[in-house]
Amino acid sequence: MHLDIVLSHRAIADAASIRPTFVRNELENLTHSDYESDWRLEIQDVHTASGEIDDRQNDSDREDISHPPVRVRPSGQETIHQAGRPHGEVAGYTELNKAMTDDPWSPFSSETDFNLASWFVRSKIPKWQIDAYFAEGLGGMDSRSLPSASTLRQHHDILDPFREYLVGVDASIDNGRNATTFYYRNIIDCVRYLIRQVAYRSDMVYTPIREYDSSGERLYSEMHTADWWCDMQVSDRS
């Protein structure tokens, strides 16, 4: 178990009697965890033991709800001056957004085509069935951007604007006795791919913070609330 996580768990167990807002907010996000060993589940145990089950009335369909960036609201929060402030626009970001708004259904020719393709993929229709669908003219006689399953696959590949980051290479290592091949990706490109995902935007952190509960006790939750991040990022290195 990670050191930060151990610390945070202990801090919460100690503060269970005064019940800070911190615990309540964590509880609302319980359904996001798939792991039994998750430390948040242990918090739930602490919580139910003290007979307070009140925040979970509508927990059922929370999986797809987007949350604001900061879910933890401790009573005290200390940020570092000017840490994590943006430098400027990411190169090419405006162009990318413009291209998406100008032609939202690209590479498909229309919304209908996009929805059809989307349905094919979601329903896991096999390739030969998709080909049969078009061969039998079920899609109508008008010209479409989707004549076959192979073009569907091509369109599907084009949809991700950052796909070139994930192109891997086959490498071969020869130790004199025999050669073995393996596959790998550029790790820096993988990081770029993750950072550029708009879907994660509300859940990305670049700024270290220090959090405290109502009694002034330090709280540790995510990695950026610990000292290491702060020591690394806010240092003399320019």
């Binding site: 999986e63 490498a171 006795r177 073995t180 091949t181 393996f182 790998y184 990706r185 820096i188 320019s238």
Partner: protein, 94 residues
């Protein structure tokens, strides 16, 4: 000015099939700590990327890898060489 980007690496042996001898894959995955854990642990949001598929060294004839010191040494050297290659971009970037 700099920003911290902590990386997490994950690996596990993956059993592929019992047919044609036991085939296994050794994938290595990665993700970054800048993504909050509620998203990072959400499989549906696909925050964990495949970084590499480790090579499975051809076995020496006869003994098992556990019994054969030379085999173990070869495997360790190979693994080291692969990770040197895969993680090399990080050193250039730092």
């Amino acid at each position: 000015m700099s920003t911290v980007l902590p990386l997490i690496g994950l690996s596990a042996q993956r059993h592929l099939t019992n047919f044609s001898r036991d085939k296994k894959a050794w994938p290595v995955y990665m993700t970054i700590c800048n993504i909050l854990s509620r998203t990072r642990s959400n499989h549906a949001k696909m925050p964990i990327l495949l970084l590499a598929l480790l090579p499975v060294q051809a076995k020496f004839t006869g003994e098992s890898a556990r019994a054969n010191k030379a085999q173990r040494q070869t495997n360790a050297d190979l693994l080291r060489a692969v990770f040197d290659l895969v993680l090399a971009p990080l050193q250039q970037e730092a």
